[in-house]
Symmetry: C2
Subunit: 298 residues, 2 copies
């Protein structure tokens, strides 16, 4: 079997586990408030790769753990990702109407409800992170909360989105582009891997290797996303093709050309796999995910 | 000295301590991202009562603690309050232009930056809550994070704001009004008191008494706010007087008339003070705050 078949075999049961857990974590619905719980479910349960939960789980498994041991944290990462998409899509931000092939939350529920659904998903994520303390020592849980909060905020995701907006339509340097990618998407991918490591009590050299892996992986995914946006047809993307270019967003193909962008993605994939050298074959899913990140973009 | 002079004497140094800590917690500013750290400071450092941090501190002190022992949590509560104001003021929500006598964050920095400043303040709050683990046992910190995340989300502040929006311009029942107040503002006031109690390791009867106090206090503050909005001139409010009425918001004076609203506020104050009967004079600031909540509204 090639890496792709083995990855799919690895992903299928975990994807189902994560979806079932997300469904469970978002199921409680007293009569009030109205609408908001539906908007939260609409945002978080839409079909998706569940990349961040899978990374947290695959890292825990690479270190001898099991998916169920880190599930609250894995799902919290997905809720934070969903929250960021809901807010990014708003008219005042990227003004996107389609996401994963469906109307965005603000189109479906209105702007006020979309802002509050994002906020409430973010809050729910921290409830789940606290719930992780039923499964893990509280001092590790507190470290994970610090890691994920930092990755989400001014020096992580929010900061990256701000620079992305400020750079729109501007002449963008390679430094700008690296900052945007490392923060807007890279920070939470890194936190997904490292939270799995922290919960398993990984030592510093192990965490450092996974840190290097996660940075290279985040870069590989982002460059491949940039290439996909530039080259794939709309039906494959679930959003209008070429929308980044139309909006003059900072992207790797725009700055370096498509061939050089592909070379950078390939290099990032190799860096990610090199970083995993100290690990045994339980880390294979992390390796396949690095290949998948880049092959998708071809 | 009467209660008012003693309360002012109590508040002045703690108010200064909280402001200094907020300043410190929001001071770090690498070159990027641009603008966002300023927008966060603008939102969180604007003059204000700092009611939520003071409640956390006063509760800790009533149980033998000191302000510095709970400062990260106290400031996290203020950041969450600031985040909620920034988002509530947005054009898609309450469309407010003035807050505490100054242009609201979206007027000053634009809508996209206001959404992200709110998000980043919320994230920073959870970083501070994690930082509390340097001062308190991590299992207590995790309980506080669960409490505060729940109070902020779909079954707390966000849920209350949703019902407030859905009820605007509608015929509102006493049940609707109670739900809105208990969630939109009550939940975080309750969490402010209970987080101080949890960090001090309070036992269940103590926490139950403080729970009753905080619910009654939140109600007293909210009814008095409703009355103030209805009766005080603009310069005293820092926002246009009668704006709730103009917008047909659900309020106590609108539903019950001003006299009955005053009677309910008085009753809530008495309930708050009664709940503190088991406590000695270290709980006096909590008692004065209950009186202050209502006297302000006269």
């Amino acid at each position: 079997m090639d890496w792709e078949a083995r990855l799919q075999e690895y992903l299928a049961p975990r994807h189902a586990q994560v979806n079932a857990a997300l469904e469970r974590y978002l199921s409680e619905s007293p009569p009030r408030p109205r609408v908001l719980p539906d908007a939260m479910r609409y945002a978080a349960l839409a079909p998706g790769k569940r990349l961040r939960p899978i990374l947290c789980i695959a890292t825990a498994e690479a270190l001898g753990g099991a998916a169920e041991q880190v599930m609250p944290t894995a799902c919290a990462l997905e809720l934070i990702h969903a929250f960021s998409l809901v807010h990014d899509d708003l008219p005042a931000m990227d003004n996107d109407h389609l996401r994963r092939g469906l109307p965005t939350v603000w189109v479906q529920y209105g702007e006020a409800m979309a802002i509050l659904a994002g906020d409430a998903l973010f809050a729910r994520a921290f409830e789940l992170l606290a719930e992780q303390a039923r499964l893990s020592p509280p001092e590790r849980v507190v470290q994970v909360i610090d890691l994920i909060a930092t990755a989400s905020g001014v020096h992580g995701m929010c900061g990256g989105q701000v620079e992305d907006i400020l750079c729109e339509g501007q002449a963008v340097s390679a430094d700008d582009l690296r900052f945007i990618h490392a923060h807007k998407t890279g920070a939470l991918i890194r936190a997904s891997v490292l939270s799995g490591a922290l919960l398993m009590g990984a030592d510093t050299p192990t965490r450092d290797a996974l840190d290097a892996y996660s940075r290279a992986l985040g870069l590989a995914f982002q460059i491949a996303d940039d290439i996909l946006d530039d080259t794939a047809p709309t039906e494959q993307m679930g959003k209008p093709a070429g929308s980044d270019r139309a909006r003059k967003k900072a992207t790797y193909p725009a700055l370096f050309g498509i061939e050089q962008a592909r070379a950078y993605a390939q290099q990032a994939m190799e860096d990610a796999i090199t970083a995993l050298q100290p690990f045994d074959n339980r880390a294979d899913p992390l390796r396949w995910l690095a290949i998948f990140a880049v092959e998708r973009g071809r």
